[in-house]
């Protein structure tokens, strides 16, 4: 009897944490999203009102649009540049490994550090970036303060931070391609671009697909850079879903309404996660 209960005893702490901090909060968020609640008065059931309000909430719709804009460019640039750099650095030499570690370092540094650092580099009056572009005859820009530019600057910072991770994953995929395939291609005398398109790309396509999904999921969580650098401004141009939930929920205490926004994000992430799990099982097969 004691032996039969033993495995339950072993998994108990893990299960308590998962139920308390993963399962219950999600269920409670769903429940709260159908209520009006500001943490002081009693919760009031209002059916789908929060969601109906969301559908015509201009600021929320804008933050949704901003998030999709960020996700699109961040994923495209991280994946694309990551693949280019990985092809460039794929040969396993000391020099390339050194460059790879340099490009990966921003990824292990806190987003807080990265944001503070770039707030200084992108300063409109004394920043390094404006000095650098002046060599190319470009006039000084207000990188984080002009509505047309701020989101692009946030994307630039995010790509700078995460592209090294993409390089890492692509290099490990490239180095798994069997040597004899390369040798055969050299005998065939095929050009390097053709070689990349016809052999490299199909060989790493499972990795490409998998990393794209991971990039998309992570990009939807965009928050820290926005909170530190722009606070959603100027003119709401960098407001994103998570920032909107944060402001509505923890600053204005509209918990019910913020929960409804959370449900929207939940649905987006759930769809992506299902795709992720399907591609991951495929990835194992290819290896």
């Amino acid at each position: 009897m004691k032996r039969k209960l033993f495995p339950y005893f072993l998994v108990l702490p893990t299960m308590i944490v998962i139920i308390l901090f993963n399962v219950y909060p999600i269920l409670r968020m769903l429940y709260q999203s159908f209520h009006q609640w500001n943490m002081i008065n009693d919760m009031q059931f209002i059916g789908f009102d929060n969601f109906i309000k969301l559908a015509s909430d201009k600021v929320f719709l804008q933050s949704l649009g901003n998030t999709f804009y960020f996700v699109f460019w961040n994923v495209l640039l991280c994946t694309g540049l990551g693949l280019l750099l990985a092809v460039f650095l794929q040969k396993n030499t000391r020099f390339n490994r050194f460059l790879q570690s340099i490009s990966f370092f921003p990824y292990v540094v806190s987003l807080a550090s990265v944001s503070l650092l770039w707030s200084w580099i992108m300063n409109k009056d004394y920043g390094l970036l404006n000095y650098v572009i002046s060599f190319f005859g470009i006039t000084s820009q207000d990188w984080l303060g002009s509505p047309g530019l701020a989101m692009n600057s946030i994307i630039l910072i995010s790509v700078w931070k995460s592209v090294g991770f993409n390089v890492l994953i692509f290099i490990s995929a490239l180095q798994r391609i069997p040597k004899y395939i390369y040798e055969a291609a050299i005998l065939d005398n095929s050009g390097s671009f053709q070689f990349f398109r016809k052999i490299t790309l199909p060989m790493i396509s499972p990795t490409l697909f998998f990393i794209t999904i991971i990039n998309i999921i992570n990009s939807f969580k965009i928050f820290e850079t926005v909170q530190i650098l722009t606070r959603g401004g100027p003119l709401n141009s960098t407001r994103t879903i998570v920032y909107e939930i944060y402001e509505e929920g923890t600053l204005f205490f509209n918990v019910g309404y913020a929960s409804a926004m959370g449900v929207v994000l939940l649905v987006i992430l759930a769809i992506l996660t299902i795709i992720y799990f399907k591609t991951q099982s495929k990835r194992v097969q290819y290896q």
């Binding site: 039969k4 495995p7 339950y8 072993l10 998994v11 702490p13 893990t14 299960m15 944490v17 998962i18 139920i19 308390l20 901090f21 993963n22 399962v23 219950y24 909060p25 999600i26 409670r28 968020m29 709260q32 943490m39 750099l85 460039f88 020099f95 460059l99 570690s101 370092f105 921003p106 292990v108 540094v109 806190s110 807080a112 550090s113 944001s115 503070l116 650092l117 200084w120 580099i121 004394y126 390094l128 700078w160 090294g164 991770f165 890492l168 994953i169 490990s172 991971i214 969580k221 928050f223 998570v242 939930i245 944060y246 929920g249 923890t250 918990v255 913020a258 994000l265 992430l269 992720y276």
Partner: protein, 272 residues
């Protein structure tokens, strides 16, 4: 042709180096300038006179030691708790068949995909009801398990041949002796990987301590430093960069010493 190829390779390499490394050099250089020198345009590359006292100013402008202590407690406790829960759960999933096993393992996998950005609001409300907002457990407990760790360690435990365990049991070894003497030594490489990933993740964490704290009591270094900078007018870039260097240094040291291992760990984890 070959020279063109080689020199373009070199130029591109230099470009990569500058783009990813120079900002950190710039951060360090700025942290040693006077306020006046940071406000010069065009900027100077190196400080005219190295102002090491900027670091003292940075530390004295905030409850630095308080933030540092919080960071250390949160990071180390999280790692220790994750080790305990991961080892026990992975052992159960690897070595026992029990009713509900599949459902529970499914829950572990699901928990890997539920980000804090979805749960923070309700967890904040929950902790407020428990009246423990602004205490360290709010920053530790939700991260006391690691789904990724359980997944990795289960594989490790499964790879240990049954004969070894049966032999130990014939010698009248208890379950805990089997875990300690047979399983743990084999699990050490996995635990080192988990420990590194958790250290980097927890030390750097900005989102969670930001949304779960309302004053400085439980704030960790990243949140504390940003909050203090926001509280000022935010133009003292020399001390801001000094604080930033202090934040980056522990990560830099670990990266210098365990770089190969960290890169392998992140490759293996597929990023979280």
């Amino acid at each position: 042709m070959k020279i063109v190829k080689k020199s373009s390779h070199l130029i591109l390499s230099l470009f990569i180096f500058i783009v990813f490394f120079f900002p950190f050099l710039w951060m360090f250089s700025s942290s040693l300038k006077t306020l006046g020198e940071t406000l010069q345009f065009p900027p100077t590359l190196f400080p005219e006179d190295w102002q090491w006292l900027n670091y003292v100013d940075a530390i004295q402008s905030m409850p630095f030691w308080n933030f540092l202590t919080n960071s250390l407690i949160v990071t180390l406790t999280t790692i220790i708790l994750q080790f305990i829960t991961t080892i026990t759960a992975a052992y159960a999933f690897a070595r026992y068949r029990f009713v509900g096993e599949k459902v529970m393992f499914g829950l572990v996998m699901v928990s890997m995909m539920v980000p804090g950005q979805l749960t923070f609001l309700t967890i904040f409300v929950m902790f407020a009801e428990w009246e423990i907002i602004n205490t360290l457990p709010t920053l530790i407990l939700p991260f006391a398990i690691s789904a990724f760790g359980i997944f990795m360690l289960r594989q490790t435990f499964r790879s240990i041949p049954n004969e070894i365990i049966e032999a130990a049991k014939l010698d009248n070894a208890t379950e805990f002796t089997v875990i300690r003497k047979v399983m743990l030594p084999m699990a050490i490489p996995t635990l080192v990987t988990l420990g590194l990933l958790t250290f980097i993740g927890t030390w750097n964490e900005y989102f969670w301590p930001l949304v779960l704290t309302t004053n400085n009591d439980a704030r960790t270094l990243p949140v504390g430093i940003v909050a203090m900078i926001n509280a000022e007018d935010g133009t003292n870039y020399h001390t801001m960069m000094a604080s930033n260097v202090l934040l980056v240094i522990p990560i830099l040291i670990i990266y210098l010493f365990a770089q190969r291992h960290i890169i392998k760990a992140f490759t293996y984890s597929g990023g979280r």
